[in-house]
Symmetry: D2
Subunit: 98 residues, 4 copies
């Protein structure tokens, strides 16, 4: 699809994005331990909701960078339509969650 | 809240649940690598949607076990109302994602 | 499926539930007028989000009544499993929105 | 905010959009009747999920028109940043449903 060396919409915030993803990875491991320890179902569900909210924030940040930077570059290359279609498909998947 | 030694609604499927969580943890690490490699934003978003769908499945499985087992036990202990309230709060958080 | 004369989980709050639904119907008509008047897309989207939040509240209220009353009656009739399955399917549809 | 006479992103599909909204209004009235007739909670919930899905489709259509037309015009007027911010806020509300 796209090559992997160009500048991405998230380049400016790459460190922050990576820190968020590592935190989410830690939250998932936390849930694995909760299940290992037979913790109460409702408490596990609360943690899952927290992870979903954190993933939504990451997704919105990526979309924002995409709308500001990639679509701008895409428009300059005459690919505005294609990129709008692509972004809307991504928003649709996020709204339906997969 | 609840002690950690009693039987949980997910006890029967604990191995399967843990396998799913480990897979989700791997998917989050996969996204970290995608960001590290400056992969295209839209491809990262597609992976985030996949993780959210996987977390939703885990959540539904936990809720199902809770409705079938914990609420049954809770009813026997006269805590049906309390547990219904608790479960509805969890469903509300899942619908609003945190 | 179920006959239409028995008591429902929402019976106690039927008036409140109907009032909420009429308000939602009015909100949908409001959006029709906004489109008729060529109002700004983002303002229309804000109203759609408000309707979805209102529908989620109605859905949670119905689920709550179901968990408290119908499932209780269902358990007394030996249909606890069937009703839990049915409720989880409804929660899954609400989480995925249809 | 925005005046009500300019061309909107949904102008081309205005008739289709209005037809969809009228159908959604009819679906809400259908739920009112179901409650009036004491229909089974789970059946009412299924209809609510169907309305949520229909509203999501309308929202995605509006966002799509906005991304293709309004943002394009906005960019020409030097308001690209402002409009991206506005659109991301709308997407965030749709993901969290209000």
């Amino acid at each position: 699809m796209a090559n992997t060396t160009s500048t991405r919409g998230y380049s400016a915030d790459k460190n922050q994005l990576q820190a968020r993803l590592r935190r989410i990875e830690g939250q998932v491991r936390g849930i694995e331990r909760m299940v290992e320890d037979d913790r109460y179902c409702i408490d596990v569900l609360t943690q899952i909701s927290a992870i979903q909210a954190a993933l939504d924030k990451v997704a919105l940040g990526l979309l924002d960078g995409h709308a500001r930077h990639c679509m701008h570059e895409g428009a300059a290359e005459g690919r505005a339509e294609e990129m709008a279609t692509e972004m809307m498909a991504a928003v649709g998947r996020l709204m339906k969650r997969g």
